[in-house]
Symmetry: C2
Subunit: 553 residues, 2 copies
């Protein structure tokens, strides 16, 4: 039966008119089947973006991807080691975090330009939550993935829109300063410096006399070399047609050197340290710990574990992670979506915020199986870095001046976030978001009302939306207008820029209309848009008090 139906469906697809005439029920089945097939395909393409590009993947693409992969790899290895230091974890965890995310994102992710892995900001967050204990970091990765996955499935990607630009700017600047200052101790070769920002800075400068000159020299040299190599990549070559082959090879060579600069410097510094050690028969440099060789086992993350001599239960772990369970997934997502959107805009495709959350969630969940700490798309691993404008503390002065020129009150969330982040990253971000929301809600509670006397009438123009928190302010204004001396002949409320009201507003208006009636000061509403007018009329407000124009005033 089913088989014949399928056969028939193929036939009818070619001759729909015939099938319509002969058998209506069959036509419906066909239509249903076609629609189901379309929906399923769409669904699979949404949730598994790999299905859209893999069928078109060519040998040429593969070669280009291998080159790109090697390039990213050369950057990622030394970066991973450095980020693990920021996160306060043994070095190998930076490497563990670097690979699983890429595989998963390749299947579920919607942007071909994003690579997932450890980032400076996530490392800073981890250093705060993991307290140098890898088990905490791995549990955080798992929970972070779960939260992101659920947010994605519930399509809560929009939540990130509540993080305004001043908050991002304040946070990124504070994070950059925290990370930078946190590395001073390594540059000076100081030992036993605490991790929190203020004590770290205080102890670093207190013990600066104990600086290891070897560390300082090697570190400074590495920095200078890195900066020079970075600049190499920014040289704009003269675009002539008569470039010799030799010139072209040289340029390519410089590009490779520049791109692989992190790896080169690490190898160079290691060689220098080894040479000095063998000559002086002594560790002149403060060496980082040994990196454990091999890849980690694939095993479920431990959600309760032993730290030192005490066992920490799952609920205790959740309690210790605290607000980090909300902030880490959100900041991770923010970083990732910002980069994905920037690339999508430049390369003319669109990304679905919720699908990105799902991809990130699955990546983190699976990464926790290979002992990774939370991963995300990276600002700094990409070329967007310089364009994002807020990612460097040097951009801070510029943005301060811009905000000052545009709307000064927006400096408040920036300043709160910036200083809050030095005390505690979560507190900084959450209070920044909160203060920005308060500024937003201020105009909801106190919508601006301008009062104009027009002859014997008073015109009240409401310059904003009218929702239940704001109606009391408006009725207060109406009441105070009705107390004017001499008593006005009437009050006209201009609703022309009010685009929506609600039930509480209509009820308060009814009360104030009745009150004005008792005082024999009639009240009129003008310029109401259609939906506002409809709501007012259905709440029982006399349509005669709703006038279309007020030119007669």
């Amino acid at each position: 039966m089913r088989g014949s139906n399928r056969l028939h469906s193929v036939a009818t697809e070619n001759s729909p008119l015939l099938s319509y005439d002969s058998n209506n029920a069959d036509a419906e089945t066909v239509e249903k089947y076609t629609r189901f097939k379309e929906t399923a395909t769409k669904c699979i393409r949404t949730y598994f973006p790999i299905t859209t590009w893999l069928p078109n993947y060519t040998c040429d693409s593969l070669i280009r991807d291998i080159i790109a992969g090697l390039t990213v790899g050369l950057m990622l290895v030394p970066q991973g080691l450095a980020y693990a230091t920021i996160a306060g974890l043994p070095l190998q965890y930076g490497l563990y975090s670097a690979y699983m995310g890429c595989f998963v994102y390749c299947v579920f992710g919607g942007s071909k330009d994003v690579t997932l892995g450890p980032t400076a900001i996530m490392s800073l967050m981890v250093s705060r939550h993991a307290r140098g204990e890898p088990s905490y970091a791995i549990a955080l990765t798992f929970y972070c993935g779960i939260v992101q996955l659920f947010m994605g499935l519930l399509r809560l990607g929009f939540l990130v829109r509540f993080i305004s630009l001043p908050v991002i700017s304040g946070f990124v600047s504070a994070a950059a300063i925290t990370i930078g200052c946190g590395q001073l101790k390594s540059l000076f070769g100081l030992k036993n410096i605490p991790r929190d920002f203020i004590p770290n800075l205080y102890q670093t400068f207190k013990h600066i006399g104990e600086t290891n000159p070897w560390d300082l020299t090697l570190g400074s040299c590495c920095m200078v070399i890195l900066i020079i190599l970075m600049k190499l990549n920014r040289i704009k070559w003269h675009e002539d047609e008569d470039v010799t082959k030799l010139q072209r090879v040289c340029r390519k060579f410089l590009w490779i050197i520049s791109t692989a600069r992190n790896a080169l410097v690490v190898l160079l510094a290691a060689a220098v340290a080894k040479a000095v050690e063998s000559v002086a028969n002594d560790d002149k440099f403060s060496l980082t710990a040994k990196v454990k060789p091999g890849i980690p086992d694939f095993k479920p993350p431990a959600l309760s574990f032993r730290v030192g001599n005490s066992t920490i239960s799952t609920s205790q772990v959740l309690k210790d992670l605290g607000p980090g369970l909300a902030v880490v997934p959100l900041i991770g997502f923010l970083e990732s979506i910002a980069i994905a959107k920037a690339f999508a805009r430049r390369n003319r495709y669109t990304v679905d915020a919720s699908q990105e959350l799902i991809a990130l969630g699955i990546a983190n969940c699976l990464s926790s199986f290979v002992s990774s700490y939370p991963v995300t798309g990276s600002f700094s691993r990409t070329a967007v870095n310089a364009q994002s404008g807020v990612a460097t503390p040097a951009g801070e002065y510029h943005i301060l001046r811009n905000i000052w020129n545009v709307r000064r009150i927006d400096l408040v969330p920036l300043v709160i976030t910036f200083f809050g982040c030095f005390y505690d990253i979560e507190v900084g971000i959450l209070s920044g978001i909160g203060s920005a929301l308060c500024i937003l809600l201020y105009q909801v509670v106190w919508p601006p009302v301008s009062k104009i006397n027009r002859g014997d009438y008073i015109l009240l123009k409401i310059n904003g939306n009218l929702n239940y928190p704001g109606i009391e302010h408006v009725t207060n204004e109406i009441q105070s207008s009705a107390l004017a001396d001499p008593l006005p002949l009437g009050i006209v409320v201009d609703l022309s820029v009010v685009t929506s009201i609600d039930f509480s507003v209509t009820q308060a208006l009814l009360t104030v209309i009745e009150e004005m009636d008792n005082k024999r000061v009639p009240i009129f509403f003008t310029g109401a848009q259609d939906n506002v007018r409809d709501m007012m009329v259905s709440s029982g407000i006399d349509p005669e008090s709703l006038i279309k124009v007020y030119k007669w005033l």
Copy 2:
């Protein structure tokens, strides 16, 4: 020196010109002094409203107030006993709660029509938090007062505006049903019924076979008598001029009977119970506990105390009171300010929300010294009851229909609050407030954008305000318009009803303008109000893209 200055100041007040000519410094001193005096007077009048009316208080006012006081007293005593039952506390606590608030409010309060005391809703909140333990109730009173006082001093009275009408309606209806059902056990004379709503109702109906017929009969008779006496007060007498003296005395008598109905019924029922007991030599009725005689000591509230055999520390008390520390002060304030505003409107004076909070805060703090539970202004002790429209569950159907007609989405917070309150009052109110806020923020995140094709141009009208959470939706709309087929000659964004933007919005617009430039689809903004236009221009948007009219379209 000072004395002479003062004398001089009196002189100069009468001859300002002369003083100005002779001595400028002195004139300044005088001006400063006068301004200081004005400010001080204004300040005292604001914080101690008693200073505005006490100087005008007459003997006549005193007599009228004594009569009013006796009337309220006759209502308050039986009410206090009943409310203590709802609060689950020994009866005398209802009386303790009834008097201190009135004295304090008389000094600090701004409405002459409000009396503070126990109310049904506060009693219900106390029953949830005090768990039948007076010490918890008294500590709650104290903390509630502190919170209200601080909210008043910080002028946070506006926070109550976030409780929308549907939330109030849902809460009051649920509270009325909870209180009513909670009293069924007493009507049926059932013992050992738990206090929480669902178990209470379940156990009441499970044990309904054990009903005490004496209790049921007496209770039902009392209710019928109360309803008849209440109706007496609502009779509209024929307003003739030839009313005989006898008729007038009869009417006055009926009014007194009706007003004192609660006290009368209590006395009557007590007499019946006593008579039955002496005839039958047995307690036929379920009697309430003995009321402890005397007034309570004036002593600071205990913030840590013993319950049974265990001592409860201050921090444990705070933890046990939990979200009640936020919700009880807020609901208390809501009840009180609603009544004060209603009276102020009717009797043509204004109340200052923050001063009401201060009065309520001091009243609660001092009340806790006389073992009171939290007090507030009452919906039901006043004539406003019938007019408030939301205070009775019978009003519920009416409001449901109204909301359905005006804006259906506003039913969501009502329903959430209503059902939430049966689970837990705080959860109900807070989730109601939260859901109303989500509905409000929905249009902030997704401001409605209407798209119209006008020839080769696309017109996007933004029907709402434009803040940082909403700009992504708008830029998405702009981007999708630029992908239209055929490619539009330009995109015009109509900002005529946008009354405010912020820094993040300007930056996103800059990005989208640059992007459209690259695509060679110019973008124009039209109808921007002056402040919006200024912000856009100072953010660096080309003023030429801001056009005043779009009639040429």
